[in-house]
Amino acid sequence: MRLLEIKNKINLTQNIYGLTQALELISAVRMKRLVKLAVNSRPLVQKVIAILKRLSQYQKISKIKSIYFQSKRIKKILVLVLASDRGFCGFYNRNILKLAEKEIKELEKEGKVEIIAIGKKAVNFFKKAGYQLKEEILDQKEYQKFEKVRDLTERLFQDYQKNEYQKIYFYCTHYFTPFYQLPRKIQVLPLEEKNLDEMLKKIAGITLIEKSPDYIFEPSAKEILDKLVSELMEFEIYHAILEALASEEASRMMAMKRAMDNAKEIVKDLILKYHKARQFQITAEVCEITTAKEATK
């Protein structure tokens, strides 16, 4: 009986091993694709941030002002948090949600905070913690498409223009290596020079210390500034989402790998136990036979 039990356990663990292995392989393939997308868009995004920085310097010295660069008195803050739809991805969700929750508590001192949760895990987390969500976005995978991100960004910019919110933050995870991803926050609006600097340093490891040139704008400066900023931020947000998705898969891959290693270890232990039990049983049987034989003599 004991033998059978152990055997069942071995089978079970081996099944889990197979499952995690399959999941790891799937994640690895997905990760490879997403990392490629994310890494390929990095040079563009670096330029985007550099241009935004030069624009923010430019509009500081010129007469043309764009609302996107001006901080206003804060009444309402919008926070977007991006987590995953599915579980089994290690600390990925916990890291980003912890950071977001901590900072939301800080932000609440400044003004009213509204949250848009992207991904099932984020939605569940904030609901459980008792937050009122302004919006739940559950088709997180759809955001690999640029059109979807454009719609979202346009909406954010419209809300900001209508003065619905005075500050917009976006929380997501940045991918560095399969072993290392960092949760971070992007200040979507208003754009501040020091934030742009920080972003540039973080994702590209470079610092720009150039003076803004005196730009010519075609057609008009006002038109360009408004349209350009939203267009450039679309790139930035799209990129951030790609990075986050890549991080999710990387995190899942590592979690599955750990699970696989654990399962392997357990199987090894169980097999040893199985042999011991079998040996014990045989010894007992032999012992029985010999004693029976002795008795019949």
Binding site: K47, F146, P213, F217, E218, L232, F235
Partner: protein, 81 residues
């Protein structure tokens, strides 16, 4: 002058060129070295790079052109979005 042509998918072109012709929304522009700083949008059309008599042509759907004293940046989308 140094020209960077970047899209979301890849770095399209990066290097020194003699001149560059782009489809700006206000009309076609040819840019030579030491152009004044400029920002404008690009519309659908061809980018033409010239370098030592050779021409390179890229088709774009839309984009942004930024000229600063150091370099010329073109952020373009090759596919239609």
């Amino acid at each position: 002058m140094l020209v960077n042509i970047l899209s979301l998918e890849k770095v399209v072109y990066q290097g020194e060129v003699d001149s560059l012709t782009v489809p700006g929304i206000m009309g076609r522009l040819t840019i030579l070295a030491h152009h004044t700083p400029l920002i404008t949008f690009l519309k659908k059309g061809n980018l033409i790079l010239r370098k030592e008599g050779e021409e390179k042509i890229f088709e774009i759907k839309k984009g942004v052109l930024e000229i600063n004293p150091k370099e010329v940046n073109l952020l373009v989308s090759l596919t239609s979005f």
